[in-house]
């Protein structure tokens, strides 16, 4: 198994996850972060720190979110590792409220 970043990250990209990941397995593009499933050690440390609840273990994803497993794998291979927090995307707080978080 591995943990997976899902749609709630899009448009927020708080990147709190990066500060706790013990193995630096978060990658980033202009929209969101992705977890490299080859490096994730399943510690789960990122799940509670995500302000918008975007991260889940792969086995717990609803059927309509399973495609995020492949998206994370593919995009992690194509994007750079993120080693330090970034400022959230503009509008992140508004989106967070929209998500009811």
């Amino acid at each position: 198994m591995a943990y997976v970043v899902t749609d709630n990250c899009r448009g927020c990209r708080y990147t709190e996850c990066v500060t706790v990941c013990p193995v630096e397995c978060f990658h980033v593009d202009e929209k969101m972060t992705y977890i490299d499933p080859e490096n994730c050690i399943d510690c789960g440390g990122c799940v509670p720190v995500c302000p918008v609840g975007a991260i889940e273990p792969d086995y717990r994803l609803a059927a309509d979110k399973k495609f995020w497993i492949d998206v994370n794998r593919k995009r992690a291979a194509e994007t750079p590792v993120l080693t330090a927090r970034l400022p959230p995307l503009p509008g992140a707080d508004a989106r967070r409220q929209e998500l009811g978080r």
Partner: protein, 444 residues
């Protein structure tokens, strides 16, 4: 340790001592060495081997979590890092001595002391701290001679945290399920012969209050010879309905417990989760025979067993020269700066479990170590010129004071030897479980 390991060319910057080589110690080190502020870190470890609870806490059947050591090894390769193994702070060197020599001292000493229940009979033979059992099966040299009577039929684990689950799961597994892990040889031998058939994991709270995580609970779905179940007397159907259905962790945990409550029992071993029971006495003639629990109705329930594992939390071992917070069971601190009363002690810091108490995952300790490193870095300019003695001269003195100082290169030799020993057995490593064996491997 050889002379060249002690030499340090790049001594222009600040000098920091980190005490302890578990996750928070490594992550504080990483943040210091990456900061851009010229800083060298000496990491003190009382054992000849690093990684703290990653080596001696994480269960042998959770190998993926142990891959975090590759991150630690990467940190250890950074210029300015030095491992000082085999030196116990408080025994071989005092905190005050370190504070004289370093611009900052960061305590990352973990939470080594198991809490007690405070009930009669805890000291009876057969009653153990869960943490001692964990250290034993993980091959900690101080615990290798512990004896656990696995010849009895029933064991009770008191507590509903992840350590309680580790203990119950290891007891529930067969020799074949553990054989290809890095479990200590003495523990594998004893567990393969175990006659325990009945394991109970007992807590005071209702199912939603259990502190263990869903991921650890999932491991109980596929045990080879052990069924997991719930005692139907302890629960009502509502117990499995989360108050907050938005909480996926709680929802999954309760769904798993519901699954256990409905499982048919067919396997020779059984692990039963019990709820709402508060222990008030452990009794027996010369050894543990039964535990008295109070039910929510105040009625008394006796659970017979020959082994008890108490898993009700841990606290940090106090260290001479460091104020202690009795209430929280940690080195007294405000956000990582060690304090005496309301006064900050200059140059003394703390991170990880010895700062916050024993909670969170390895990742939580990365954030924690980085936060403490930020406090150190903020204070360092004001510490300039404060230290009165030379850390390299201290290490040279320590090298004559202790039996054998261990460098990271020495550890690499121990590591390689353990892996070689494990290979023919199909184990990732066969740990050395005594200090002489570790040191012999370092010298080989």
């Amino acid at each position: 340790m050889t002379k060249s390991d002690l030499d340090r060319a790049d001594v222009d910057g600040f000098r920091v001592a980190v005490i302890g080589s578990g996750p928070s110690g490594f992550y504080a080190t990483e943040a210091l060495l990456r900061s851009g502020t010229p800083t060298a870190v000496d990491m003190f470890e009382q054992l000849p081997v690093p990684y703290g609870l990653v080596r001696f806490g994480v269960a042998p059947d959770h190998p993926k979590l142990k891959l975090v050591t590759t991150a630690f090894d990467r940190i250890a390769k950074a210029p300015g890092f030095r491992f000082v193994g085999g030196v116990a702070v408080g025994r071989d060197v005092s905190i005050d001595e370190l504070r004289d020599c370093y611009d900052a001292v960061v305590l990352a000493t973990g939470a080594d002391i198991s809490r007690s229940l405070g009930i009669p009979g805890e000291g009876l033979p057969g009653s153990h701290h869960a943490g001692d059992f964990v250290a034993w099966y993980n091959g900690h040299p101080d615990y290798r001679d512990c004896h656990f009577d696995l010849g009895c039929g029933a064991a009770t684990v008191i507590g509903h945290g992840n350590v309680a689950l580790d203990v119950a799961r290891i007891l529930a597994k067969t020799g074949d399920e553990l054989r290809r892990t890095d479990i200590a040889a003495h523990a594998l031998e004893a567990l393969a012969e175990s006659r325990i058939r009945e394991i109970r994991v007992v807590g005071r709270g209702r199912p939603p209050q259990a502190k263990f995580s869903a991921k650890e609970l999932r491991d109980f779905l596929d045990l080879a010879t052990c069924d997991t179940t719930i005692d139907s007397r302890d629960v009502v159907p509502d117990d499995f309905t989360p108050d907050n259905p938005q909480d996926p962790e709680l929802t999954e945990k309760l769904a798993l417990l519901r699954t256990f409550s409905q499982q048919a029992l067919t396997k020779p071993r059984r692990c039963t989760f019990r709820f709402g029971l508060s222990p008030f006495a452990i009794r027996g003639q010369g050894r543990v025979e039964t535990i008295d629990f109070a039910q929510p109705s105040s009625a008394v329930e006796n659970i017979d067993c020959g082994l008890v594992f108490r898993s009700v939390g841990r606290r940090t071992a106090p260290l001479a020269g460091v104020p202690y917070d009795e209430l929280r069971g940690v080195h007294a601190n405000i956000e990582g700066r060690v304090t005496k009363g309301s006064t900050v002690i200059a140059g003394l810091y703390v991170c990880g479990w010895s700062k916050r108490g024993p909670s969170g995952t390895i990742g939580t300790n990365r954030g924690c170590g980085m936060a403490t490193a930020a406090a150190v870095l903020a204070d360092l300019p004001a510490r300039m010129g404060q230290r009165s003695r030379d850390p390299d001269a201290l290490l040279a003195r320590l090298d004559t004071r202790v039996a054998r100082m261990v460098s990271y290169r020495d550890w690499a030799a121990i590591d390689a030897a353990e892996k070689r020993r494990g290979a023919p057995l199909g184990k990732p490593r066969e740990k050395f479980v005594s200090l002489p064996d570790m040191l012999a491997a370092a010298d080989a």
